[in-house]
């Protein structure tokens, strides 16, 4: 048996009150790390932190409500957490407008949250990781911007920008034991997506289970997985990359997207 042990490490997971972020917080706690959960509202943070404390009694779970789409929100989180060993930049939002329809505001808002928030947090915590010669930054990246679509352009563009940010940030770790990597995520179960699936199924008079293959083919054509990924399946790769086992993986993009990418490389 082999085990990942992150005992004594402090992990910050942004956007972790539900979905993939919550699963990452859970996975990191399960592996022994102390965890900071983050969401926009105090209520959502309190609820997530309570669920995690309930699942892991006696463990250190800190909740910080902060909107990471602003400099002030990032500063608030950094102010509450002086030291971070594992930073999981997970927070992100989607906007569905077509490329030419989306106003500046959409592009700016998504850029600030989906891309710049990672840099703002890294500015605070990465120097400490480099000084200690130990630490991990893991970005939740998106599979989608690797394909061309007319819609959701602000999301795709800012998530692609995040890939560039992550790869450049990895350069700062040259010659150290710190790594910066991106997990590439595809269509994964979440409250909002499950609601969409329910609506689509209901419109055809079917249950989401009966309609699953059609739904998958629509949102994730050709997927090898032939189902939506579960948040835990993404989180497990985040936990692996956060661990000492992944010490020779740096500046990389690692797929947990169910094989939707019809490309050899």
């Amino acid at each position: 048996m082999m085990r990942i042990d992150l005992g004594g490490k402090l992990a910050v997971v942004t956007g972790s009150t539900k979905g993939i972020g919550f699963a990452c917080a859970r996975g990191l706690l399960e592996a022994g790390a102390d965890v900071v959960v983050n969401g926009r509202t105090q209520a959502s943070v309190d609820e997530a932190a309570a669920r995690l404390r309930n699942a892991f009694p006696g463990r250190e779970v800190t909740g910080v409500a902060a909107d990471l789409g602003t400099a002030a929100g990032c500063a608030l989180l950094v102010g509450r957490v002086p030291r971070c060993d594992i930073l999981v930049c997970n927070v992100g939002v989607i906007a569905l407008e077509d490329a030419l329809e989306a106003p500046d505001e959409t592009y700016l808002r998504l850029f600030e949250l989906n891309c710049l928030s990672g840099l703002r947090l890294a500015r605070a915590w990465l120097p400490g990781m480099l000084a200690r010669n130990e630490g991990r930054v893991v970005f939740s990246g998106a599979q989608r911007p690797l394909m061309a679509y007319r819609g959701g352009t602000a999301y795709a563009a800012t998530k692609f920008a995040q890939l560039s940010l992550a790869r450049s940030m990895a350069e700062l770790t040259r010659g150290t034991a710190v790594t910066v990597n991106t997990v590439m995520i595809g269509v994964t179960h979440s409250d909002s997506l499950d609601a969409v699936a329910r609506d689509f199924a209901a419109a055809k008079g079917r249950t989401p289970e009966e309609d699953e293959l059609d739904f998958v083919e629509m949102v994730s054509p050709g997927s090898l997985l032939q189902r939506l990924a579960r948040a835990e399946e993404v989180a497990s790769f985040v936990v692996y990359l956060a661990s000492p086992l992944a010490s020779a993986t740096n500046g990389a993009m690692l797929s947990a997207e169910g094989g939707t990418r019809k490309a050899v490389y």
Binding site: R3, G175, L224, E233, L245, S247, A248, G251, L254, G259
Partner: protein
Amino acid sequence: MIFDFAGRTAVITGSSDGIGFACALAFARAGADVVVNGRSDASVDAALARLRSECPETRFTGVAADMGTADGPARIIAAVPDCDILVNNCAVNNLQPMLEEPDETFFRLFEINFLAGVRLTRHYLPRMLERNRGRVLFHNSEQSLRPSPDMAAYGVSKAAELVFARSAAEYTKGTAVTVNTILIGPTRSAVTSALHARMAAESGKTVGEIEADFIRHVRPASLIQRLAEGEEVANMAIYLASDHASATNGAVLSVEGGVREVLF
């Protein structure tokens, strides 16, 4: 996170030393039954002795077989008709200016580095699909993705393997079986260690200095600024072979120390 392969059999080609050996050790420690392969009885026996001293509880099977012929994979299949985890690791390299590399070198490397994995996958993958459980891993190289004028036979054989691996993954659609590739960079192995020891003896430098020179001059972009260890590749193999990695399929996963200065 726990990795427990109790009751699972892992076949690892080219596992008598280097990265393959590190994988054999890691899978044994994680509870798997392990099939060890090398070209000669002597190399397989030596590896088995080392592995058994580390993991006395593990069930090991040794198969001496030259993977550069159709007979080699056939021998493995005869000894181990079924497996849960196939790690296509065996490979050989050849350093030679490409226009001087004869057909024979291209054929030989194509057969060992590419066709051996095809032959084994052809046998084991359908059985995994029938059971709806299994993992096929290919150990590939970042050399596949860069110009290799002095290792062209190696580069083309491993490039071909990237395509085969991704194509084989298509067979797993809708199943719980996955096929993935680990992209490996400069890693300490029996071959590199022997080479570096010889270079050290010839130059009066230490092996450490030779390794540092290699990174400085040949892979200056490396983020880890050192050779990777076989164990670090094995860690990724363990993760990918585990049930935790169920949403990673048809992918190329880097354990190359960040030597590639590109996004893709």
